[in-house]
C-alpha cells in the first residue's frame, strides 16, 4: 500500500470515529449560539405577568403593569375574587368559598360535579375537625350520600371521610391525612384551577413548564452533543462541557 493510501485509510478511520461520537461544542461556540438567540423583552415580561396572574399575586401584577407596561392576560379584578375563594378554602370556610364561587360564575360548580363533591367533602372534614359531629353526620347523609350513589369514586371517598367519625383520636387514625393542611390545599388548588379554566385561562403558569422543557431539551441534546449545560436553574450558571 502506498503512503498516500495508508494515510487515506487512517483518515477514513478518523472520520468514522468522529461520526460515531458526539459533537463537541466548546463554551465559546456555545456562547455565540446563545447570543444569536432572539429573546424579546416584551415576551419575558408577558411570561412574568402570566406567573403573577396565575399564581394570584394581584398587587404585584398591578404594580408590574405600571412599572413595565405589560398588560395582564386576564382582568385583574377576577384575581382578587379567585384568591378570596382560595383563601376561604385554605382557612376552612368552605361554605363561604362555595358561595363565592357561585357569585363568580354558577356554572363552575354546575359543570364540575367532582369539584362540588370535593368541596362538600371538605366541608364535612371541617365539621369533624371542629367537633361538630352530629352536624357532620347529618350533612353526610343529606348532602354527600346521594352523590356517592351516583359515582363509585365519590362513594369511596365518602366512606373514607365518614371513617373519621369512628375515631376518637383522629391523629391516630388511618384516614387522618384528610385532616391535614395538605387536603385543604389540594381542594383549594382544585377550585383555583376550575375558576381559571372557566375564565378561559390556563390553570398553571407557563414558566414552570418552560423550565421543565429546558431540562428535557438538555437531556435530548445530551444524546447528540457535548455542550455547556445549565445544571442549576436557580443560578442559571453555564457549566463547562464535560468531554
Amino acid at each position: 500500500m502506498s503512503v498516500l493510501g495508508f494515510a487515506l485509510v487512517q483518515f477514513s478511520d478518523l472520520i468514522e470515529t468522529m461520526a460515531s461520537s458526539k459533537k463537541v461544542i466548546t463554551k465559546e461556540e456555545w456562547e455565540k449560539k446563545l447570543n444569536d438567540v432572539k429573546i424579546r423583552k416584551e415576551d419575558m415580561n408577558k411570561l412574568v405577568m402570566n406567573f403573577l396572574v396565575t399564581e394570584g399575586y394581584v398587587e404585584a401584577a398591578e404594580k408590574f403593569r405600571v412599572e413595565s407596561g405589560t398588560e395582564p392576560d386576564i382582568d385583574l379584578a377576577t384575581i382578587t375574587d379567585r384568591m378570596a375563594v382560595k383563601k376561604a378554602v385554605q382557612s376552612g370556610n368552605v361554605e363561604d368559598a362555595i358561595e363565592k364561587v357561585n357569585d363568580l360564575n354558577p356554572e363552575i360548580l354546575d359543570t364540575n360535579p367532582e369539584l362540588f363533591f370535593h368541596l362538600q367533602q371538605q366541608r364535612m372534614i371541617e365539621l369533624i375537625r371542629n367537633g361538630r359531629l352530629e352536624e357532620a353526620l347529618e350533612f353526610a347523609q343529606e348532602e354527600l350520600a346521594p352523590r356517592g350513589e351516583e359515582n363509585q369514586s365519590f362513594l369511596e371517598e365518602l366512606e373514607k371521610t365518614v371513617a373519621l367519625l369512628a375515631f376518637e383520636d383522629v391523629s391516630n387514625c388511618p384516614v387522618g391525612d384528610l385532616l391535614d393542611m395538605s387536603q385543604r390545599l389540594k381542594t383549594a388548588s382544585e377550585v383555583n384551577a376550575a375558576i381559571l379554566t372557566s375564565q378561559s385561562h390556563e390553570k398553571d403558569p407557563k414558566l414552570p413548564s418552560l423550565l421543565k422543557m429546558l431540562i428535557w431539551a438538555q437531556n435530548q441534546l445530551d444524546e447528540k452533543a457535548v455542550y455547556p449545560r445549565i445544571n442549576d436553574l436557580a443560578s442559571a450558571k453555564l457549566e463547562d462541557p464535560v468531554v
Partner: protein
C-alpha cells in the same frame, strides 16, 4: 458573556443589540418572526418530473391517471409533489382519493427521495416508503412488502404522513389511522402518489381542502403526549418563584418586587437553595436608583434621568459618544417629536445628535430617528415604532444595564448583563435549535414568542 460583550462594543458597558428590549415590534422583529415560520409547502404535483407513466387530468395539477395498458415493473407512473415535505414542524400529512382503481388497482401513496426513478412504485426503491392499494402492504425500499393494513380502491381516501418527533411514517384510510412504521430515511422526502394500471385515476389533497383524517387532533394528541413526558421532570422547590424574583431585581422593578415579597411571605414559601447563590444581593445593587431612573425614562423625563445618572454614576455617561449617551439623546429628540416640538427637535438634533453620525454601529437607528421629522403623522410612519413605549423601555433597560455594570461585584458574575430568566430561555432555545440541526433539520424548535402565542388563552385539555 461579559467579556465577549465588552469586546464587541469597545468597552462600552451597554451593548444595545444584546438587550432583550432591542427585539421589539419593529420592522426587524417582524422580519425575524416571518423567517422563523416560513417554509415551502407542497401545493401541487410536479408533473414535469415524469417517466411518462401518467397523464395530468386537471389544470390544478392535483389529479393524474394512468395512460397506457402496460403494467410492467418499470412502467409505473409515480408523481412527486412540487417540493419536499416541510420538516420544521412536528408532523406533515397529505391525502389522496382514488377516483378510479382502474383495471388492477395498483395505486400507491408514500414518500420518495429526490432523484428517485419515477417509473417505480414508492417503496420499491431505496429510501422510499409506500402504502399500496392492491395488497394493503407497506414497502420500505426492499422488493418485498410487509403486511400493514387494508387494501384501498375506488372511492377510498388514504393519507400519508411523517411524524418528525417519533421518526415514523403514518398512514390513514378513510379518516382512520391505519398504522405507523419506523422512518428509516434521513434526507428530504417528497409526497408521492402512483398509478400503474389502465384507467386508474387519483386526486391529491395537500391541505387546500379539509382532510378526511383529523390531522389536527392527531398533532394535538402527539403534542399532549410530548407535554406529559416533559411535565414528568421535577423542579427544585419554588424555583419559578425565585427566577421571577430575580427578574424583577435585575430590571429594577422595585415596586413589583416589594408587593411580590409581601405576598409570598404570607403564602408559606420556604426559603429556597437559590438564596445562597448570589442572586440576591448582587442584583439588589442600586435597586432604588435603578427604579427611579426607569420611572423617569418611562415618563419621558429624559433630562432628569440624564442629570441623575450624571450625579450618581458619572462614569456611565463620561464618554459623550457612547451608546448610552446616544440612546438618551435620541430619546430626548423623540420626546420632542412626540409633543410636536419640531423646531426644538431640529435644534436639539443639530446640537446633540449630529456627532453620532460618525458612529457606524448607531447609524441606522440615528437615521430612523431623524426620519421622524419627515412625516406629518410620525406615529403612523414606518419609523413610528420609535414613538411607542417599548423604545422608552429599551432606553431604560440600557441605563439599567449601565448602572449594573458599575457594581464592583459585577465582574465576577457570570453573564451579569442578562437576567437569569433570559439566560435560561436562551439556553432552552439554543438546545432545541442545536438538536434539530443535528437531526437533519427535522422537528419543531422552541421560540418563546410562539410558545406564548400558541398556548394563548386556550383552556388546557383535560
Amino acid at each position: 458573556m461579559v467579556n465577549g460583550q465588552q469586546v464587541s462594543t469597545g468597552g462600552d458597558p451597554v451593548d444595545l443589540f444584546r438587550l432583550a428590549s432591542w427585539c421589539r415590534s419593529g420592522p426587524e422583529w417582524d422580519r425575524m418572526v416571518s423567517e422563523i415560520e416560513w417554509e415551502d409547502e407542497p401545493t401541487h404535483l410536479n408533473t414535469m418530473n415524469s417517466s411518462g407513466g401518467f397523464n395530468v387530468v386537471s389544470v390544478d395539477k392535483l389529479s393524474v391517471s394512468y395512460p397506457g395498458t402496460r403494467s410492467h415493473g418499470h412502467d409505473v407512473g409515480a408523481v412527486q409533489a412540487n417540493c419536499a415535505a416541510p420538516t420544521r414542524r412536528l408532523m406533515y400529512y397529505f391525502e389522496m382519493t382514488v377516483k378510479n382503481a382502474g383495471q388492477k388497482g395498483r395505486v400507491a401513496i408514500g414518500f420518495t427521495p429526490p432523484g428517485v426513478k419515477m417509473c417505480r412504485q414508492p417503496g420499491w426503491e431505496e429510501n422510499s416508503c409506500g402504502y399500496h392499494g392492491d395488497d394493503g402492504m407497506i414497502y420500505r425500499g426492499q422488493g418485498k412488502g410487509e403486511s400493514f393494513g387494508p387494501t384501498f380502491t375506488s372511492g377510498d381516501t388514504v393519507g400519508a404522513g411523517i411524524n418528525y418527533a417519533s421518526q415514523e411514517f403514518f398512514f390513514t384510510k378513510n379518516g382512520k389511522l391505519v398504522g405507523t412504521v419506523n422512518k428509516h430515511v434521513k434526507g428530504p422526502l417528497f409526497p408521492t402518489i402512483a398509478v400503474h394500471s389502465q384507467n386508474e385515476e387519483l386526486t391529491v389533497n395537500f391541505g387546500k381542502h379539509p382532510f378526511l383524517f383529523n390531522f389536527e387532533a392527531y398533532v394535538l394528541e402527539e403534542r399532549t403526549k410530548h407535554q406529559t413526558t416533559i411535565e414528568k421532570s421535577t423542579l427544585p422547590v419554588n424555583v419559578s418563584h425565585w427566577i421571577v424574583r430575580s427578574y424583577l431585581l435585575h430590571y429594577g422593578y422595585e415596586d413589583t418586587l416589594n408587593s411580590f415579597d409581601i405576598a409570598s411571605k404570607n403564602s408559606l414559601q420556604p426559603a429556597p437553595v437559590a438564596q445562597e447563590n448570589s442572586i440576591e444581593h448582587c442584583e439588589a445593587y442600586a435597586l432604588n436608583r435603578r427604579k427611579i431612573l426607569r420611572q423617569l425614562i418611562r415618563n419621558g423625563e429624559i433630562d432628569s434621568a440624564f442629570s441623575k445618572l450624571q450625579g450618581w454614576y458619572p462614569q456611565t455617561v463620561q464618554n459623550e459618544t457612547s451608546t448610552l449617551c446616544f440612546l438618551l439623546r435620541a430619546q430626548k429628540f423623540i420626546e420632542h417629536i412626540r409633543v410636536g416640538e419640531l423646531e426644538a427637535a431640529v435644534k436639539y438634533a443639530r446640537a446633540q445628535l449630529a456627532k453620532f453620525f460618525s458612529v457606524k454601529l448607531l447609524e441606522n437607528l440615528l437615521q430612523n430617528c431623524i426620519a421622524l421629522l419627515a412625516y406629518d403623522q410620525p406615529a403612523e410612519s414606518c419609523v413610528g415604532y420609535l414613538l411607542d413605549a417599548n423604545q422608552r423601555e429599551l432606553v431604560a433597560d440600557a441605563v439599567n444595564a449601565a448602572v449594573l455594570s458599575t457594581d464592583p461585584a459585577a465582574k465576577d458574575r457570570q453573564g451579569g448583563v442578562s437576567s437569569h430568566l433570559e439566560r435560561l430561555l436562551r439556553q432552552l432555545t439554543a438546545c432545541s435549535v442545536e438538536r434539530r440541526s443535528l437531526t437533519s433539520d427535522q422537528g419543531e424548535t422552541f421560540h418563546l414568542h410562539q410558545a406564548l402565542r400558541a398556548a394563548g388563552k386556550r383552556p388546557m385539555l383535560g
